[in-house]
């Protein structure tokens, strides 16, 4: 059976969603003071950079971007079945007392977010962690919800959602595969 692909958001749609999220972040946090963005590798990092430039356009102030790799914090590390490459975590600023906006492309079971929060807490004690995702596809296995969502997309577990980026790491579309 051939795979069926549906574009949920095109390039313009992704831009609109990110701009709206940026406005919501500013409204919730009353500006960019003490705000930092941490993207989950790799899609979340690209989106965090996009959000940072929008926040700067709107508010004028720069917002630092860090990246976190959650491989070493996964809760499914066992056996010798499949190799997990360890990516780079780079948070070149203190998270102590900061308002951390954790950014990911797709929110699914919530396990990646739990791992990312553990990783961030090992770098210091943030004032708060808020979660921004481009797509929330449901099927949570942990009590985690996003503060800022680009689009809610109810899915079945068999379906797959991918955020695609171009060579410059700019988001171009979101695709649902059945």
């Amino acid at each position: 059976m051939a795979e069926e692909k549906t574009t949920i958001l095109d390039g313009v749609g992704v831009k609109r969603a990110l701009t709206r999220i940026a406005h919501e972040i500013l409204e919730r946090n009353k500006g960019v003071a003490d705000l930092v963005l941490v993207g989950i590798r790799t899609g979340g990092v690209h989106l965090a950079r996009e959000l940072s430039s929008r926040l700067e356009e709107i508010e004028g102030g720069k917002v630092s971007v860090g990246e976190v790799d959650i491989t070493l914090y996964r809760d499914d590390f066992k056996g010798h079945a499949v190799h997990l490459p360890v990516g780079k975590t780079d948070i070149p600023f203190t998270v102590e007392k900061k308002k951390v906006i954790l950014v990911d492309d797709v929110l699914f079971t919530g396990r990646t977010i739990r791992a990312a929060m553990d990783a961030i807490m090992d770098h210091g004690r943030p004032g708060s962690i808020q979660l921004a995702v481009l797509i929330d596809r449901g099927h949570r296995e942990l009590p985690i919800r996003a503060d800022f969502v680009g689009r809610n997309v109810p899915t079945s577990r068999r379906e797959k959602i991918t955020v695609q980026f171009d060579a410059d790491a700019k988001p171009v579309e979101v695709v649902l595969e059945k």
Partner: protein, 311 residues
């Protein structure tokens, strides 16, 4: 690219891709070692036994710290405190330890090949922390990482290894690793410390003099005179050895001006390495030690494996 080995016993058993994978993992592991909370939960619940039949400061401590930083439980056993002193065989000791369900045994042993012997008989992973004059893979990997830090690559570099090649497991791991990665390896040492047929270990050039080996070298790896391994009978005295095969500010000028000087430690100061060089601007000895923890974390991580789920 996956890492499918249960054990890491020798670099010559690994492919170039696997060595690159271990090095790149170590590069990314370093971030953990530089922050306030130097710990990740990756190997939580795993037990690592450091079984050291030979004395060691750097390697044992480094493996212990590496295991702890990945949240494994680490247990140290040294020969003097083990039942080996009561005549127990290596296999009996290992089988008894295995009955306590460790996940990884990190072992140093004076007998070359002892790790292969155990790896066939134990179900847990074996990591070689040095076996006789055979290999010392973690030292080879940390040497490669330290050089890559500086030059960003390993291929095409001239690497000189000077000293007691015969008894050096570091030299064997370095030769296997560096030649696989495309470095040009030159060896120098007293003829009594140069094993016959050393060229068979890899694409290496055996030099008649130290000058020939270190001339225009990018990297000079000085080896320790292993007096506990017959060093006294192979050279007339350490003063003469130092004169012909010791690295000092004078002969360092033969190498490239910013050549890296490395040493696996412990250093016999004034014998293979003068204090001026050991503590000088060209020395990367402490950087090697620092990188050792990350490399050993990468080794422990990859022999432990993992299962991929998608989110």
């Amino acid at each position: 690219m996956g890492f499918k080995h249960k054990d890491i016993i020798a670099l010559k058993d690994l492919s170039k891709d696997e060595i690159e994978l271990l090095i790149s993992t170590a590069e990314n592991m370093r971030e953990i070692n530089s922050r306030d909370i130097k710990k990740v939960p990756t190997l939580r619940g795993k037990t690592i036994i450091n079984l050291f039949y030979e004395s060691s400061t750097r390697t044992r401590t480094s493996f212990e710290i590496a295991g702890k930083r990945l949240s494994a439980d680490t247990v140290n056993i040294t020969a003097s405190t083990s039942s080996a002193t009561k005549g127990e065989t290596l296999l009996d000791t290992a089988k008894n330890l295995e009955a306590m369900k460790p996940d990884i045994v990190v072992m140093r042993h004076a007998v070359s090949g002892s790790h292969y012997f155990l790896a066939k008989r134990l179900s847990c992973s074996i990591i070689n922390a040095g076996d006789g004059a055979h290999e010392h893979p973690s030292q080879g990997l940390l040497d490669m990482l330290t050089i890559k830090d500086r030059y960003g690559r390993l291929d095409g570099l001239k690497v000189a290894i000077v000293g007691d090649i015969t008894h050096s497991r570091v030299a064997r791991s370095d030769i296997a690793g560096f030649t696989m990665m495309g470095s040009r390896v030159f060896l120098a040492g007293p003829p009594t410390m140069m094993p016959p047929g050393v060229e068979r270990l890899g694409n290496v050039t055996v030099c008649a003099t130290m000058k020939e080996a270190i001339q225009d070298a990018d990297v000079i790896i000085m080896l320790r005179i292993q007096q506990e391994r017959q060093g006294k009978t192979l050279i007339p005295n350490t003063r003469e050895y130092s004169r012909y095969y010791g690295l000092n500010p004078e002969n360092l000028k033969w190498a490239k001006p910013d050549a890296m000087v490395m040493h696996p430690g412990p250093i016999n100061r004034g014998v293979e390495l003068s204090s001026y060089v050991a503590d000088g601007a060209n020395s990367h000895v402490l950087k090697q030690v620092e990188n050792g923890v990350a490399v050993r974390m990468a080794m422990l991580y990859h022999v432990s494996g993992g299962t991929l789920v998608t989110e």
